[in-house]
């Protein structure tokens, strides 16, 4: 019965199926409403809690005598899930057992630190999407930015201030060029940006590995694929002293969010981006230079991802390794998705994912819950966001079916939604 719920709700959805089905679906996923987002996160957390309980040793042993003393089992399930989430919270926001106020707020600072590259790279993906481009290339753009920025950081020795500025500029240019090439290919030859960006990710990664195998990027006298440490003059200053890792990059991430918000909503060029995103043919007819907008939006998107690359090498890592981009380039897609492609939405989503990542460390250490659970929760969020009808059906939010469904009874809501 459940599968039929999807088409039933899709019919009542606000958007009619356009001529290009996949494009419109993608559009709906990226720009759906906020309540579904929140419910998707909630649902993912509940399912994640069940998964945690299932893998817990105490739960497994109490399940052995479930019928003899069921209370033990349910208590164990509850305590496994809650203790993991409490640890997650303590690792991400506030740790009451920390030493002093500084120690108690250390988790929050860590969350902001991890969120920094997620936000800027996420903005890159979100901006491109608003212009109708599905930018999978943040990973490669971060890598190219990391290569250039780190090289400037360890190979050149410049005065304080100038050095960091140059690192920043080099990184942003690296990302912007790597994204811009994709824009040019799309505008000139019509090459699909999804394919091109994926390929560009590989090119960037293997180029990075090649460079790390050369003397140019290795430490003198060593053969390990790890660059020298960046000069102290080339790294972001820490915002609140050495007890936290939070660096200047976070302020730049806020600035980038303000910039993208202004660009999209207040500037002429932003209007052109949105027009092209809404309907390229109509935009062309209206006299907008579509190829120019394509190249420009990919360049800016690449530059934003480049900012994430700079946050990596000049902010937290301070060296270049082949893991410089970690999984930020791909997480950025999720962040943009969760943020519904709006600048401040992306900012908030970046903070949420930063919190997940920061909290996962404590969760792993305090309760032994595998870090993979956090990745599963993240993936579930994406899954639920990508299927808004499912979430609406589960929570009985479908407008037309609302009266038919018994309020509050989730299961029944699903069934009625499907049967009607």
């Amino acid at each position: 019965m459940q599968p039929s719920a999807v088409p039933a709700t899709a019919q009542s959805g606000s958007l009619p199926g356009g001529p290009d089905e996949s494009e419109s679906l993608l559009r709906r996923i990226f720009t759906g409403n906020g309540i579904v987002t929140i419910l998707a996160v909630l649902l993912a957390l509940i399912l994640g809690g069940l998964l945690i309980a299932m893998t817990d040793k105490v739960v497994a042993s109490t399940a052995g005598y479930l019928f003899a003393r069921p209370g033990d089992f349910f208590a164990a399930v509850w305590s496994a899930a809650t203790s993991s989430y409490v640890a997650l919270f303590q690792g991400a926001i506030f740790n009451p057992r920390g030493t002093g106020v500084a120690g108690q707020f250390a988790p929050l600072m860590e969350t902001l630190t991890i969120a920094t590259p997620l936000i800027t790279a996420g903005l890159g993906v979100a901006l491109a999407f608003r212009a109708g481009l599905f930018n999978i290339g943040a990973q490669g753009q971060i890598i190219m930015a990391g290569i250039l920025a780190s090289w400037v950081g360890f190979a050149l020795h410049l005065p304080i201030g100038l050095h960091l500025l140059l690192v920043l500029v080099a990184g942003v240019i690296g990302g912007a060029v790597w994204g811009g090439i994709v824009g040019v290919l799309k505008a000139r030859t019509g090459a699909h940006e999804v394919i091109v960006t994926i390929m560009f990710n590989y090119i960037a990664l293997y180029f990075l590995r090649y460079l790390l195998d050369t003397k140019l990027f290795q430490r003198p006298g060593e053969t390990t694929p790890i660059s020298p440490i960046l000069d102290p003059s080339a790294v972001y200053p820490l915002l609140f002293g050495s007890q936290y890792r939070l660096h200047l990059g976070f302020l730049l991430a806020i600035a980038a969010t303000v910039f993208v918000s202004w660009l999209l909503n207040r500037s002429t060029i932003g209007f052109e981006f949105r027009a092209v995103g809404a309907n390229p043919k109509a935009a062309l007819t209206a006299g907008i230079n579509v190829p120019r907008a394509t190249v420009l939006v990919m360049t800016i998107a690449g530059g934003l991802a480049g900012l994430a690359g700079v946050a990596q090498v000049a902010g937290t890592e301070k060296v270049l390794t082949d893991g410089v981009a970690a999984t930020y380039g791909f997480d950025a897609i999720t962040v943009a998705l969760l943020g519904r492609s709006s600048p401040w939405g992306t900012f908030a989503a970046g903070l949420l994912f930063g919190a997940f990542r920061a909290g996962a460390v404590q969760m792993q250490i305090q309760t032994g819950t595998p870090i993979d659970i956090v990745l599963v929760v993240q993936s579930l969020i994406v899954l639920f966001i990508a299927a808004p009808p499912l979430v609406r059906a589960i929570f009985g939010l479908n407008p037309r079916k609302k009266q038919a469904a018994t309020a509050g009874k989730t299961k029944q809501a699903v069934t009625t939604g499907g049967a009607a």
Binding site: Y65, I226, G323
Partner: protein, 369 residues
């Protein structure tokens, strides 16, 4: 009558199956509840040993796993508490290490050279905490960090000699995952072992996949893509090799798969495993497993933890060699009969010569101590 009987029987058996199924379901939850007071856990020690993996994770069938198992063994044998943190990416190193320090770890084991900088930073900031790092040594020693490193070339030398002495085609091969010292040290030793055999016996066994003089060879590019390992191995087989030593963690399974296919097609081919005794840890490839070049990381971790609990921590590097059994050539197991007796004697002699220092095995990647 007959029919109805059959029907009854059938129905009966169906019901039986159903009953059995239901009973099994019930039984899983039917154990007796334990007494309330019986769940006291023993906390024999206030000592906490911690471990932070690199991005390979604790199930990498390689150094993360061996080190982790070593620490888990200490948990059982010494009654210490154990905290573990798995790093998914390089970005997790510093947060994980900071969290370990905050969690009150007495000793934190970090796995791999990529954690070198992060370990150094935390060790310097927390001089009262002890650290041990696997597969990495510092140019200038740090007072509270003990490097655990291996002169793997010594054991790989034996593997090279063994391969050269048992090849039927006169060609053996090796390939790596990523070109890093902990990988190339295997390949250096292997190539030198073959060279030593050629010099002693006046033969000309060829090594594919690694050129020691140029320090360059075949690398799959990561420690993940098994199909690449398979492809590389097939290429080596096409070029006439019959013994392959993959130095690429899980990618070695790809080599195993290619060799098994070749064996099924009637070729006499063999595999040399690395890090652990592949006969035990990769049993799928038992029937082609000639031997393994082992690094005893679990034992080293256990020793370091034990020393620390006894207050005997030092920052002198632990260097695994043939002399202290830190590196070894694994037993031949099922291949015992395929290795001629005189080769076994020669191997024992070489092992003794290396351990005594009479025979020098050199690699650019050897630990400089």
């Amino acid at each position: 009558m007959k029919n109805s009987l059959r029907a009854t029987l059938k129905r009966g058996s169906m019901a039986g199956v159903a009953t059995a199924g239901a009973a099994a379901l019930l039984l899983t939850g039917c154990g007796a509840a334990p007494d309330a007071g019986s769940s006291a856990t023993k906390t024999a020690s206030n000592y906490t040993g911690c471990i932070v993996s690199d991005s390979g994770g604790f199930d990498d069938q390689s150094f993360n796993q061996s080190s982790y198992e070593g620490l888990k063994k200490s948990e059982k044998d010494l009654g210490i508490k154990v905290n573990q943190a798995e790093s998914k990416t390089n970005n997790d190193f510093e947060p994980n290490l900071r969290a370990m320090v905050a969690a009150g770890c007495n000793l934190t084991v970090t796995v791999g050279f990529l954690l070198g900088d992060a370990t150094k930073a935390q060790a310097t900031a927390n001089p009262d905490k002890h650290f041990a790092i696997i597969d990495f040594g510092y140019d200038t020693p740090i007072a509270n960090v003990k490097p655990i490193i291996y002169d793997t070339a010594q054991a790989a030398f034996l593997a090279g000699y063994l391969a050269a002495a048992t090849t039927k085609t006169g060609t053996v091969a090796t390939f790596g995952g990523i070109k890093i010292p902990t990988v190339t040290i295997f390949m250096d030793g292997y190539a030198d072992g073959v060279k030593y055999y050629n010099e002693k016996k006046g033969k000309s066994v060829k090594v594919l996949g690694w050129d020691k003089a140029k320090q360059d060879g075949s690398f799959t590019g990561d420690f993940e893509k098994q199909d690449k390992g398979k492809q590389f191995t097939q290429n080596f087989l096409d070029q006439g090799a019959d013994i392959v030593m993959p130095v690429a963690g899980p990618v070695g399974k790809g080599a195993g798969a290619a060799l098994k296919e070749a064996k099924a097609a009637g070729k006499d081919v063999k595999l040399i495993w690395v890090d652990s005794d592949g006969f035990l840890t990769a049993p799928d490839y038992k029937d082609i497993m000639l031997s393994s070049v082992m690094k005893q990381m679990g034992e080293a971790v256990e020793t370091v933890v034990k020393q620390d609990t006894e207050g005997k921590f030092t920052n002198t590097p632990y260097v695994g060699t043939l002399a202290n059994d830190g590196v070894q050539l694994a037993p031949f197991h099922d291949m015992e009969s395929q290795v001629p007796a005189d080769v076994k004697t020669e191997l024992l002699q070489i092992e003794k010569d290396i351990a005594d220092g009479k025979l020098k095995v050199e690699s650019a990647a050897s630990p400089k101590v």
